[in-house]
């Protein structure tokens, strides 16, 4: 994804975008972790 951003933006802007993207993903994951545990839906695949 970083390589993709570098194609269209200069390095500083690409760094900023990728940092924001990672922060958003982490926040969504943390939110869902709490939400899904509360809902009793959080489950993992065991093979």
């Amino acid at each position: 994804m970083y390589q993709f951003l570098l194609k269209y933006f200069e390095r500083k802007l690409a760094n900023l975008f990728i940092a924001i993207w990672y922060i958003v993903l982490v926040m969504i994951n943390l939110y869902l972790y709490v939400l899904l545990i509360d809902e009793g839906q959080f489950r993992y695949l065991v093979w």
Binding site: N29, L32, L35, Y44, W47
Partner: protein
Amino acid sequence: MINLLTVFLFCIPIILASYLVEKKYYLVIQILATTGYLGYQSPISLIILAVLTVGNYLILHQNNLSGNLKLFILVFIVFFVLLGFKFFISIDKNILLPIGISYYSFKLIHYALEYYKGKIAKTTFLEYLAYFFYLPVILIGPINRFNSFVNEIGKKRLNTDYLSAGLERILYGISKIQILASYLITMKLAQLIEILPTQSVWLKTYLESFKFVFNAFFMFSGYSDVAIGLSLLIGIRINENFNFPFHSTNMREFWSRYHMSLSEFCKDYIYTPVASYFRNPKVGILLTMIVIAVWHEISLRYIIWGLLQFIGIYFSTTIKIGNSLILRNFCRFLVINFFVFSCVVISKDSFSETINTYKILFFIK
């Protein structure tokens, strides 16, 4: 239930050791951390895997037995253990499988066969143990190969590219598990199916089948990403497991991009020998798909699923499509739907349910 947080916790000493100490001590710490994890999660799994690993080594390095006999004993023991567990779990769903036994068995067979062929480089017992007790891949693969693992350990060093790629991969893996599989598919799609009007039976059934396949795919693909990411943090590159399988234009291509470590294993150890023995690639494909099916579970429904995959691959080898973009996209649509429809067999508990679902999907009264 296995929690990823516990895996991460036990991986911390491995990651630190990979940068801070010599290879010999790193291997010891890696083995101890994996043993600790297995002992914490399931002591019985630890005992079974340890006995299999040490037994495998002792038999292979036994000088009194001939190579053929060693191989026969090993493959027999591994198959016996794996098939035994798979058989009992197909009878009673409450039986717990030892952690990672399905992948572990393949790794044992891989090591034994390569050793028999003389392709295993001179190795120490510590390296051997480290290959089998490698925490990132022990739960759900990918099935990594021994020689590449030993090579990677040899050149392992602090690598910032691996570090950032690993963190990114773990984030994407967890996102696939949580956002796509657990939230959007398991929760939201299920809610959408529930609120659909009762007349739209076809759409409901189709979405149910779609949900089953894509939930399993994103879960599995997410776990593989986490395993590959953790491995990169340690400084070891392992093989990929998925390469956009739903972009495939035929079922043959699909199976070379879906669960790649398993299909490559089966290609090397089942397809190639069987196809060259019978001088017929179709027999090789048939047996490979049956083995993949039985590996999942020993039951009639999985065997039928394997046969359906064989039919899909068989047709894709006989039909040639051109380079037209529309045709290629149409074929992608067919591949997705063929796989979704074929997985109906394994998603239902009884044959009457499966038949009813197919009747609805194919508009049969």
